[in-house]
């Protein structure tokens, strides 16, 4: 095949006279059968393991699938319909109480208000999250600054809006979960970044303040933070000052998450090569410019998995707000199981299955989106 003038390959002198062109790769044995044989049944031991695993999977899933789908009750109007021997979860209960799970004690005539917010939030998030959509700054500012204000006035109502006032005590269900989670995630992020930068500052005072803040909040369980915010805080504040319970929870969740975000971001900052800082300095960029244009874009890209991990964790931790008397999705599901007319043994379990499924859909979406973003932002090479 090789064309070599000196003839025999035993010879020491070799001069190539003709370059070999690129050749296509050898044909790969493909297909499911080939894959199965190579990966699952390539030895006696592996074959036994494969069957053993299949049995375990079947054993675990058959019970679950049977309970959730096959033996489940799909039609009915009251708990009586679900009080069937050997039946699974009671889906009619979910569809009957769905509004309560989504809106909590929010008055049903005013559901259109949160609905507008849901739609607005989804549209803004879509515009913001989809690469290639123009005017990112506009959507970003709308989402972070305008949207929360609109949300508050539309959902809360009262005052100049001319809408029926619905105080935060009546907010609940998935709506409340989303309010707490989105506020927590969005507000804690910039704070966390600033804390991370502060912790790496050359100024001793700045550094100490950030270290103390981070270590303090990170060292306390979230449930304690929420409890302190709702029960202890009023004791320290002067008589008559009264913060909204939801606001107190939001502040607690935000500060708590910011401490975690700070440490994640710090990890990213440390991963950036010293040469990047030096190149930015040498070009005459000042601290704010080099940080925002050179360092953070690279560091934040590195810590996307960590930040999303935090966000997912926060999203699920919002369930803890029930400790201070706020009725989030899980809280409403728990409260819902006491609904009159819906008493059946399968009702609480049904509620938990539903809550778990909703949480999973949201967190899994976040996870997939983060993986997509990582790929999208990858310019292929490290510094």
């Amino acid at each position: 095949m090789t064309k070599i003038t000196s003839g025999s390959t035993d010879s020491i002198a070799i001069v190539r006279t003709e370059m070999v062109p690129d050749m296509p790769p050898p044909v790969r044995a493909d297909g499911i059968v080939f894959w199965l044989r190579n990966n699952l049944f390539d030895s006696v031991g592996n074959t036994i393991l494969t069957f053993l695993s299949l049995w375990v999977v079947y054993y675990a899933l058959s019970g679950l699938l049977g309970y959730v789908f096959i033996d489940a009750i799909w039609q009915g109007t009251t708990g009586a319909d679900c009080r069937v021997e050997g039946s699974g979860v009671c889906w009619p209960y979910i569809s009957d109480r769905l509004n309560f799970f989504i809106y909590g004690f929010y008055p049903s005539t005013e559901y259109w208000r949160p609905n507008i917010i849901f739609a607005l939030g989804a549209i803004l998030l879509f515009l913001l999250a989809t690469p290639g959509v123009p005017l990112k700054m506009v959507w970003g500012v709308s989402f972070v600054v305008v949207f929360p204000v609109v949300t508050f006035f539309l959902i809360n109502g009262g005052g100049f809006t001319g809408l029926v006032e619905v105080p935060t005590e009546k907010w609940g269900g998935l709506m409340l979960t989303l309010v707490v989670a989105v506020t927590g995630i969005v507000a804690s992020f910039p704070l966390g970044v600033l804390l991370a930068l502060g912790r790496r500052s050359k100024m001793p005072l700045m550094r100490s303040v950030c270290v103390v803040f981070i270590e303090l909040w990170r060292g306390v369980p979230l449930i304690t933070v929420l409890f302190m915010a709702s029960v202890m805080l009023p004791l320290f504040l002067p008589e008559g000052t009264n913060f909204d319970k939801l606001v107190r929870a939001l502040v607690g969740v935000t500060l708590f998450t910011a401490a975690y975000t700070a440490e994640v971001v710090r990890g990213g900052l440390q991963a950036i090569d010293k040469g990047q800082y030096e190149a930015a300095d040498a070009l005459g960029l000042n601290y704010v410019q080099s940080t925002s244009l050179i360092i953070l874009p690279q560091a934040l890209k590195l810590v996307i998995p960590g930040i999303v991990n935090n966000s997912i964790s926060l999203f699920k931790d919002t369930t803890l707000v029930s400790i201070v008397g706020l009725v989030d999705l899980l809280g409403s599901v728990r409260a819902g199981s006491a609904t009159e007319g819906w008493s059946a043994p399968s009702i609480p379990v049904t509620g938990y299955f539903f809550a778990a499924a909703v949480f999973w859909v949201f967190t899994f979406t976040m996870s997939r989106y983060s993986q997509y973003m990582e790929r999208h932002l990858d310019t292929g090479h490290k510094s």
């Binding site: 090569d273 040469g275 040498a282 000042n286 690279q298 510094s383």
Partner: protein, 267 residues
């Protein structure tokens, strides 16, 4: 920009025709400078003056302090004793003055240090836009001009990671030039490159020297030193041990350490 157009015309005529050294204008002046890393006295008794248009090559064994020395000139390293005056501005802890100096002093690093998340064009326009407040269109025009000068305009929209080492280093040089600096510092610009790529980078540097740029180069490329340097400075143990014109330096080194060093690297 007229300066550059002229350089283009001159690039093929080798020789020192354009390499004029000013008699009066001082680019860098260092007096009694010393620096420590903790307890370690990395630079001592540094005294020299660089006139505008001079091309200095700094050589020496590793650990001799040559990189640290040129990094002091744009304050990537802080000196603890003596004075460094760059373009008439003394470097102190005054951040404003440091930024002022950095705007006029370009630097090229051993490992290029391009910004991997930005395209080549964005790498080049970033500092002019943010530091010099040049309008974007104009900055891009200047950037393309310098990319052409380093002979890779077709790479403008790629990311640094897609380029070879030699191309990346040429981009790094172009990036510095976009700030239109008075002085260029080179910190071993070819040490991380494959032999075949060294030449393409050196060609750009020679071209720059012919253009009259004041240059301080830490390098072991003795061919480059012979060709463009008007002074070679030899350092060891944090001190300047010998300094001379290239011809004399290479053919007739005086200090024992210099002789040993040259015998090791010139085969």
């Amino acid at each position: 920009m007229a300066k550059n157009a002229q350089a283009k015309n001159n690039s093929d005529t080798s020789g020192a025709t354009k390499m004029e050294v000013s008699d009066t204008e001082v680019a860098v002046e260092i007096t009694n400078m010393a620096k420590w890393f903790g307890e370690f006295n990395v630079l001592k008794d540094i005294n020299f003056k660089v006139m505008k248009g001079e091309r200095i090559v700094i050589a020496g064994p590793s650990g001799s302090g040559k990189s640290t020395l040129i990094r002091c000139i744009n304050r990537l390293e802080e000196h603890q004793q003596g004075h460094i005056v760059v373009n008439g501005i003394e470097l102190t802890s005054d951040l404003k003055k440091i930024d002022e100096v950095r705007r006029e002093v370009g630097m090229v690093f051993q490992h290029f240090n391009l910004f991997p998340h930005l395209t080549i064009l964005q790498n080049l326009t970033l500092a002019p836009i943010w530091v010099r407040k040049t309008p974007k269109a104009e900055a891009e025009e200047i950037a393309m001009h310098y990319l052409e000068r380093v002979k890779i305009p077709e790479q403008a929209l790629k990311y640094p990671g897609q380029l070879s080492g030699g191309q990346q280093q040429r981009v790094a040089i172009a990036r510095s030039l976009c700030m239109n600096p008075e002085i260029m510092l080179f910190d071993e610009p070819t040490s991380a490159l494959d032999p075949e790529m060294i030449k393409e980078v050196l060609d750009v540097m020679v071209n720059l020297a012919e253009d009259g740029m004041t240059m301080l180069c830490v390098t072991h490329e003795m061919g480059f030193a012979r060709k463009v340097a008007n002074r070679v400075m030899f350092m060891d143990e944090g001190q300047i041990i010998e300094q001379n014109e290239p011809e004399e330096f290479f053919s007739n080194p005086k200090h024992e350490r210099t002789k040993l060093f040259l015998s090791q690297i010139l085969h």
